[in-house]
Amino acid sequence: MSFTTLSFALVFVLIPLILSKYFKLGLEKDTLIATIRSIIQLFIVGYLLKFVFDSEQYIYIILMVTIMIIAATQNARKKGKMIRGITWKLVLTFTLIELITQFILIGFQITPPTAQYIIPLSGMVIGNSMVLAILFLNRFTSEIKSQQDQTELILSLGGSPKQAVQNQLVQAIRASTIPTIESQKTIGLVQLPGMMSGQIIAGADPLQAVFFQLLVLFLLLTTAVFTSILLGFLSYPTLFNESMQFLDEELKQLSD
């Protein structure tokens, strides 16, 4: 595909613009902004990747992964305001999941240790880990708030902080990972996964595309479960003090 052919593709932007104007939907401005932003952002990433691939220097790979982790943390931390030190907890979670997955991928020689593999797979792992972190934090916050009585009951009977939030923790971990597991059950039946479609269009053998898609799916299973569990175990202790008291006061202040 060339710039010329891509410019023809702008017809697909023109159609919604005309429709929006005609039906007074008021979507023109947002459509234009979205189009311009996506063009700029993707081209920057494209050229950046081209540069990193060509240079074959690990420092650039590390730099790109670092940027991904910072961006993901920035996005997810808003959902975890009630948890003290959520920023570094997210950084730790994203960094660990990235290291573990790359260690397995490269260690078992599943993928070669080149920028071409490391960067896109890191993007998928960190991006999904971010979504999982947001889902988990949302659910965990609401579980903790709605079940304060239970937390206090278990503490009052001599239970530990972990026992006091065990149920809420499990609920939040399950609720945040179930969508990932469920979506894998129907994959390929309705819609081809984006990555696989892209590979097939770019001329790859469909079976090769399937191999890679499966690899990504398995990778995302680990990402999902690991992210919620790690974040859960890093988060719950901040809801208690050293006298094993539930900090409901702090919780109230932070969520106001």
């Binding site: 503490l155 530990s160 094993m244 008291q245 109230k252």
Partner: protein, 245 residues
């Protein structure tokens, strides 16, 4: 250390203040709860009674001042053992999702122990619940049954101090009487120290050996239960007058 060792005190408060969200809930409480006795804790809503109870088993900590349990500073206890030593039963009788049996066994499950069928039945009998209730879901219980179960559950830890927060306020007269009898029996049989928050002055008179009268976060008067018939302060006289009319 300026606190007086008092052999008769199960719990001793020394200049205890407690703030929450920068509001003073309790201010400069000095007083004691005698060992093996029932102390009625009375006072209008918002007097800080429930907070005081939660300080007694370390669910909350004072902002300033000291609390002594058996003449030992409360901070020297390991929190879980303190909470088993001073068990609390709250007005709302919170249950965990599941059967009566699961709720009853909860204090032991938390210690990786289990409750035998016989122990469970004995406990139900003690609080006046049918022994065939064990497999019932707690959602099917009435308010009174939940309250009795909540007391039984607290007793599983064999507490030496029992902290009761308005446990009879939502119950029918028959259940109230049963629970009063139960608490009286526990006190006499096991010499359990009992602190009982109640809105019912007659219940306080009938059940209490001692009484604390609290208002606006302060301990106004404390002493033998006869205090309720001869209050020293106008404030308390006024409060009692309002309650009995």
């Amino acid at each position: 250390m300026d606190h007086i060792l008092n052999e008769d005190a199960a719990i001793y408060f020394e200049h205890v203040s407690y703030k929450r969200d920068n509001n003073t809930i309790l201010s400069h409480i000095n007083g004691m709860f005698p060992k093996g006795k029932i102390t009625a804790l009375v006072g209008p809503s918002g007097a800080g009674k429930t907070s005081l109870l939660k300080l007694c088993n370390g669910l909350k900590s004072p902002t300033s001042g000291n609390i002594y349990i058996n003449n030992k500073n409360i901070n020297s206890y390991d929190p879980p053992s303190l909470r088993r030593y001073a068990g609390i039963a709250l007005q709302q009788a919170t249950m965990i999702d599941g059967t009566v049996r699961k709720n009853l066994a909860l204090p032991l499950i938390l210690q990786n122990k289990s409750l035998t069928e016989n122990e469970a039945k004995e406990l139900l009998k003690l609080v006046g619940l049918d022994t065939d209730m064990l497999s019932r879901h707690v959602n099917d219980l009435s308010g009174g049954q939940k309250q009795k179960l909540s007391i039984a559950r607290t007793l599983v830890n064999r507490p030496h101090i029992l902290l009761l927060d308005e446990i009879t306020s939502s119950l029918d007269p028959i259940s109230v009487e049963e629970i009063e009898k139960l608490i009286y029996t526990i006190n006499k049989k096991y010499r359990t120290t009992i602190i009982w928050i109640t809105h019912d002055i007659n219940q306080a008179r009938q059940m209490g050996d001692y009484v604390w009268v609290m208002m606006q976060g302060q301990l106004i008067e404390s002493g033998s239960i006869s205090l309720l018939d001869h209050p020293k302060t106008d404030k308390v006289a006024q409060f009692l007058k309002g309650r009995s009319s």
